[in-house]
Symmetry: C2
Subunit: 108 residues, 2 copies
C-alpha cells in the first residue's frame, strides 16, 4: 500500500504544478500565502519539498542567474509522473471519503 500524502505534501505538489515551470521555494510560499491566507515559513516549505524530492514525487534542477539585483540561484521543482499519480490517488481518496457521508447537501 502506498503512503497517503499528508495535506502539506499534497498542497506543495499542487503548488508546484500550478506554478509550472517556475516553481521554486519562495514563489511557492507566496502562492500558498495567497491561496490559503496564512503565512508559510521557509521551513514549512523547503523541508517537505526536499522530502518529496527524495521520495521521487518531485524533481529539481538549478536555475540560471537572472539579471535581477541579487539572489542566489533558484532551485526549480517539477512534478514527476509518480507525483502526479500520488496526487490522483489523494484526490480519489478524498472523494471517496466525502461520498461516504450521507447528506452532503447539508453543507453549502
Amino acid at each position: 500500500m502506498e503512503k497517503i500524502l499528508s495535506r502539506t505534501e499534497e498542497t506543495l505538489l499542487l503548488a508546484v504544478w500550478a506554478l509550472a515551470p517556475n516553481a521554486y521555494g519562495l514563489a511557492i510560499g507566496e502562492h500558498l500565502r495567497k491561496l490559503t491566507g496564512k503565512r508559510w515559513s521557509v521551513g514549512a516549505i523547503y523541508i517537505p519539498l526536499e522530502r518529496l524530492e527524495a521520495r521521487g514525487l518531485l524533481a529539481a534542477h538549478e536555475g540560471e542567474p537572472t539579471p535581477q539585483r541579487g539572489g542566489r540561484s533558484k532551485r526549480f521543482f517539477t512534478l514527476t509522473p509518480q507525483g502526479l499519480k500520488a496526487l490522483n490517488e489523494a484526490r480519489r481518496l478524498h472523494e471517496a471519503l466525502w461520498a461516504a457521508v450521507p447528506d452532503e447537501g447539508g453543507l453549502a
Copy 2:
C-alpha cells in the same frame, strides 16, 4: 486565521459524519480500513479523536452497554457545528488548490 485541518483530522471528521450516530473508535477504524485500504492503528484513531474533541470539533458521550458478548461501554462521537464548519473550510481550500492547476484534464 483558523488552523487548517490535517488530513487525518479531516478523515476522522468525515468518518464520524458518515457513521452518525454510531461513530465510536473501533467502528471508525473499521470504516476507514475499508475506505482507505490500509490498517489504522488504535493510536492513529483515538489520539486525534481526543484532540478534535478538545478543540470542539467533535462532541462525545458514553454509550449504554449493549446485549452483545463483551465490550466496555462505547464512546460515541458526533460532529459539532464547528466541526462541520472546519470540514467545509477544508473542502473549499482543497478545491481552490486544485482549481489553481492549469490543466486538470490531464489526470483521469
